[in-house]
Subunit: 256 residues, 2 copies
Amino acid sequence: ISRVIVIANQKGGVGKTTTAVNLAAALAVAEKRCLLLDIDPQANSSSSLNVHLERDEPCVYDVLIDGLPAEQAVRPTDFAHLALLPSHIKLVGAEIELVAIAEREYALKKAVEPLRRSYEYILIDCPPSLGLLTLNGLTAADTALIPIQSEYFALEGLTQLLNTIRLVQKRLNPALEMEGLVLTMFDPRLNLARQVREEVRKFFPQHTFETIVHRNVRLAEAPSFGRPAIYLAASSQGARDYLSLAEELMARQNKA
Amino acid sequence: ISRVIVIANQKGGVGKTTTAVNLAAALAVAEKRCLLLDIDPQANSSSSLNVHLERDEPCVYDVLIDGLPAEQAVRPTDFAHLALLPSHIKLVGAEIELVAIAEREYALKKAVEPLRRSYEYILIDCPPSLGLLTLNGLTAADTALIPIQSEYFALEGLTQLLNTIRLVQKRLNPALEMEGLVLTMFDPRLNLARQVREEVRKFFPQHTFETIVHRNVRLAEAPSFGRPAIYLAASSQGARDYLSLAEELMARQNKA
Ligand SMILES: Nc1ncnc2c1ncn2[C@@H]1O[C@H](COP(=O)(O)OP(=O)(O)OP(=O)(O)O)[C@@H](O)[C@H]1O
Ligand SMILES: Nc1ncnc2c1ncn2[C@@H]1O[C@H](COP(=O)(O)OP(=O)(O)OP(=O)(O)O)[C@@H](O)[C@H]1O
Ligand SMILES: [Mg+2]
Ligand SMILES: [Mg+2]
């Protein structure tokens, strides 16, 4: 069985890519076959795994717009049990090109179905918007995992995001469930961070992960080495937080 | 004379809104008549100035899509010399609606021209993307101010952003110039931050502001009080950094 998890939040810089990369790496370390699917034109997930494509190399753009079979764009990474379907900046044009395609919200879902038999987890990293790329991610997914930065704007955007998820559940993907909300860049010394944690736990007691990802410079440094934090500094707070998030995620699935 | 400055960077969470709001407030404190123009559907600049619109109140959506004269959407704020043209989440649909409009990249430029005689500075806060809303901002502007977070992904996205600016200069707005790059969320204790600072200064010696905006919790807290940091904690590092950025900006203009 496989689980497709979309990592989404239209607020920028909240830790979507950092969560997608490090959670995928932690699941792979637990010997789960994992695919990271990058649908952000910035291609930050791809470069975090040391993959920098040329314009003519197959990527998620070719899969969504030209109908290339997804497995022809998937490539192995330097890390065991972790494969990548990379992105490229040429995807910037896809939002407008998708508008003209029939069933435009289902392009990714159709591409992902055949991949399910090869992976136990497929994680989708989204751009910071609620446009057609993110809608494709929400429509293709079984569950949605929402990184929440421990800051004020994070709370403002949350209502909008949950409204969008409800709309997607109603019209595009009735099977979509909440995987959960995870607090990121948490600095326990700051009042603001503690306040946001209380608010999120108060409003979403069912959906908030126990695991909190702390602010930790190793997580910010790791992408410049082209590797997840667990392969750079396995005992760092950041690497440990994502290992614990992976364990919590897998434990939930066993219960399901 | 008036100067329209677009604050843009497709990378999310780099400090576009924080820079737009606090720079506008610092210019207003220097008694320059200032307008903050929020073209991000998240409307974070609007809420930072304590403006939360209902769906039927005039906002930038009505100006761009229905041709409402911009001055009918402009409203005063609680802060002297600082006016706001607010945004609203309904702007999310504008990216797709603008595709069908003739001269879609010039919608904002046309709306802004009549406002020039009332303001010395017009600052435009953009969403985290290079879509039609940001293109409208770049086409309407005299200069572009780019916040750069002192982190790895910031450098990756910079080339793409500068390519887009060059394209806009060639095809949509030949008068567009670089106002400059400003380092944000700078923590001098971190190697990563110092490395990014060296790289940016090495590659863009002409365009990098001397002023660096340090990571400072007052800047993150201020939006929850609906006021710029200078009105919450005037002696904080964050407020002082934006005052110094405003002085540097005004000094450049006097030289020009
Ligand atoms: N827990 C953390 N501790 C320290 N730095 C972090 C942490 N999580 C993320 N970062 C850094 O913060 C920045 C923003 O994170 P990231 O790029 O993952 O967010 P994002 O939501 O994917 O951004 P975008 O909206 O642009 O896609 C990056 O420079 C990243 O390295
Ligand atoms: N210098 C700073 N020190 C501390 N916190 C900061 C600083 N600048 C911004 N922040 C905080 O970091 C987060 C991201 O900043 P901000 O929202 O201004 O970025 P943005 O580029 O406008 O994001 P988006 O891409 O979503 O529009 C916010 O919670 C903000 O309060
Ligand atoms: Mg990202
Ligand atoms: Mg913003």
